[in-house]
């Protein structure tokens, strides 16, 4: 019996750790742990509620935009203005979130996932004259393989030319990602950590100028998504079709919904959203979302058992570092006591079974190209495919939304700070269901709770000892080579995990630090 530990904690502290016990070439048991205590909620208490907007964004360097939207929706509802956001404000928020999603998904596929399936090192022998590929060749020649490792010997299957093309797209993806971030900055003011989204709407107004600036970038992104990103994902899916059988997971999917199409309903679960909220499972039946069924359990997390099983609006943070049987700083969110997975797969499948026509026709066409049935989407490749499909749906929808903006009309509504109030902000972030909850007393934050998508997906065992979604996805996986467990890495990456960010400490190598000292 062997134990595989994947723990990239060494350089950046406080990250995801995965432990898998392998017996007879198969994972018998898996544990995923978040190794950093997240005390965001404690910082919020006693502050002006409007600070939540700025502070929540800093929780994470990869998804600040989604946190800004969740915090704004949360404060809108606490301030009693959830049904009063002007259309311009609602649409600009959609555009800001959409731009972040597109940038994120392209980055995730080309700069993390693709490297699992595309062999960059093959380019060491490149003979052609594509400048991007030659620049990668010289990168490799200098021994700077850093961004492209590790390599999984024996499991790269793309034929030579397709492989080369995918590497060239890797380089092109940088430019696309930048275009998407520029779209975000057009209305968000700055990137990272945008200043545009705020309770009441947004701080920017539409002008003919920023509408056109967004449109030409979006056009280019749509072309890239249609002609490069989606075809690349489908090509990988065809060659690695066995990954539609790997990483099935818990079989339950939960989506909060995202992109407001209607600003007049205060209740987020009743509001018309581009991706509607709901749940589904391997039975492929749709159910409405009921946020009251969400709880967080802590039997296996380093928190006091007294806070276990609470709804997030009543949530608390009571660390207990020495707790027996605990192995993660992440709590276990559960929905009706059951284990649920969040993410693009959840969003796509909830809308597929929930009768969203745009989603249905795109998914059906992808399923027929990949030659699989809908239940195979519950898999590593299904998660990667769902991410690409939703990127297309979002980009195409943005092209319509931007034309609904009305220059000269307001994008913000003013409000009064309540003395006592509660709020909830639910949004489909790039990585899945993101929820913020607030309680205001005497005009200050009395409680603020956040459940991120990765908390759902990377959660440890719960009070009933049910393993979390990632743990279930890894369990039972056949491992060809324990020293090179690429199957597990591919499963983990398809979830696109994102843990409480992030300690970016640098440590100078090998040198006596004295020589760098200034004063």
């Amino acid at each position: 019996m062997g134990k595989i530990i994947i723990d990239p904690v060494t350089r950046i502290e406080g990250h995801l750790k995965v432990e898998a016990v392998v017996e007879g070439g198969k994972v018998k048991e898996a544990k995923s742990s978040g190794m950093l205590f997240r005390g965001l909620e404690l910082i919020m208490r006693g502050r002006d509620p409007r600070d939540a907007q700025r502070i929540a964004q800093r929780i994470c360097g990869v998804c600040p935009t989604s946190h800004s939207i969740a915090a704004a929706l949360n404060l809108d509802s606490a301030f009693g203005i959830a049904d009063k956001i002007p259309d311009n404000g609602r649409i600009i928020r959609n555009l800001i979130l959409g731009a972040a999603h597109i940038a994120d998904h392209i980055l995730h596929f080309y700069h993390l996932v693709a490297l699992d399936y595309v062999d960059v090192a093959k380019l060491a022998k490149y003979e052609g004259n594509n400048p991007a590929l030659n620049s990668i060749k010289s990168f490799i020649a200098r021994g700077e393989l850093g961004p492209f490792v590790p390599r999984y010997e024996g499991d790269y299957r793309l034929p030579g030319e397709a492989n080369e093309q995918a590497v060239a797209h890797y380089v092109a993806a940088f430019d696309m990602r930048r275009k998407s971030q520029e779209m975000l900055a057009l209305f968000g003011g700055k990137m990272p950590h945008n200043m545009g989204v705020m309770p009441g709407g947004v701080a920017s107004v539409p002008t003919v100028d920023n509408i056109t600036s967004l449109l030409w970038r979006l056009k280019e992104l749509q072309e890239f998504i249609d002609n490069v990103y989606l075809p690349d994902v489908l090509a990988v899916a065809q060659v690695y079709s066995d990954y539609f059988e790997i990483g099935h997971g818990c079989g339950n999917l939960l989506a909060y919904g995202s992109y407001e199409l209607d600003g007049k309903k205060p209740d987020l679960t009743k509001r018309k959203r581009f991706f509607k909220p709901g749940t589904t499972s391997t039975s492929l039946k749709f159910s409405e979302l009921d946020p009251a069924k969400i709880t967080e359990e802590v039997k296996h997390s380093w928190y006091a058992d007294s806070i276990s099983g609470r709804h997030p609006s009543q949530g608390d943070v009571v660390p207990e570092e020495e707790k027996k049987g605990a192995y993660s700083w992440i709590k276990s969110p559960r929905y009706g006591k059951a284990v649920f997975e969040a993410g693009p797969l959840a969003r796509i499948m909830v809308n597929y079974v929930g009768g969203n026509p745009g989603v249905k026709s795109l998914v059906d066409s992808a399923l027929s190209q990949a030659n699989i049935s809908p239940d195979k989407m519950f898999s590593v490749m299904g998660r990667n495919l769902a991410r690409a499909l939703e990127t297309k749906l979002i980009a195409d929808a943005m092209a319509d939304w931007v034309l609904e903006l009305k220059p000269g009309e307001p994008a913000y509504v003013s409000y009064e700070l309540p003395e006592e109030a509660t709020g909830m902000g639910l949004v489909g972030a790039a990585r899945g269901a993101l929820g913020h909850w607030i309680e205001i007393k005497e005009g200050k934050v009395a409680n603020y709770q956040v459940i991120t998508p990765s908390t759902w997906n990377i959660s440890p065992r719960d009070d009933e000892d049910q393993p979390g979604p990632l743990e279930q996805a890894i369990k039972g996986t056949k491992i060809k080579d324990e020293a090179n467990p690429f199957e597990i890495v591919r499963i983990v990456r398809a979830f696109d995990p994102c843990l409480a960010c992030s300690v970016h400490l640098l440590s100078p190598r090998g040198h006596d630090l004295g020589e760098f000292r200034v004063c």
Partner: protein, 160 residues
């Protein structure tokens, strides 16, 4: 084109956010032709710095010195670990800068970026710097101004 100062770090983790605190202090000093960027916790800041012909990065650096110790070094002095990225959080600034050379051949290159690092005392949840680092702010700012060839007297004026 021009000189860029990029502060990175997480302001929710006290001294880990020193880079951001420093760039906010710099914003109060008149520095024409210098771009000041708060990169926050975002490892993905490539598009913000691609035009730099001088890049100064300010960050917390664990070098074993006393809290507030200021380090100056180059990116090539940093260990790049050849490890798998499990999440996008693992794509660090150094990786980003290396990758930048792939699609932007005119980029100044990692050899010319200078890091001004500050030894943290406390990396824990909270918005305030530790007193040691707070006291060191004028020296940290002076170190950056020296890098920008601006005299320290200007910094004092700017802080008034």
């Amino acid at each position: 084109m021009g000189k860029f100062v990029l502060g990175i770090g997480n302001v929710l983790l006290r001294d880990e956010g020193i880079g951001c605190h420093v760039v906010h202090a710099l914003e109060g000093i008149p520095l024409p032709d210098v771009k000041i960027i708060d990169g926050g916790t975002c490892p993905d800041v490539l598009q913000l710095i691609e035009d730099a012909d001088k890049l100064i990065i300010v960050d917390a650096v664990k070098g074993g010195g006393t809290p507030g110790q200021i380090y100056r070094f180059h990116l090539e002095d940093i260990t790049l670990e050849q490890k798998p990225f499990l999440s996008l959080h693992d794509v660090g600034l150094v990786d980003s800068l290396m990758l930048m050379q792939l699609w932007h051949p005119d980029f100044i290159g990692i050899g010319e970026a200078v890091i001004i690092g500050v030894e943290p005392r406390e990396i824990n949840w909270g918005l305030e710097l530790s007193p040691e680092l707070h006291e060191k702010m004028p020296q940290i700012i002076d170190a950056i101004l020296a890098e920008l060839n601006v005299s320290a007297s200007l910094s004092l004026k700017g802080e008034e």
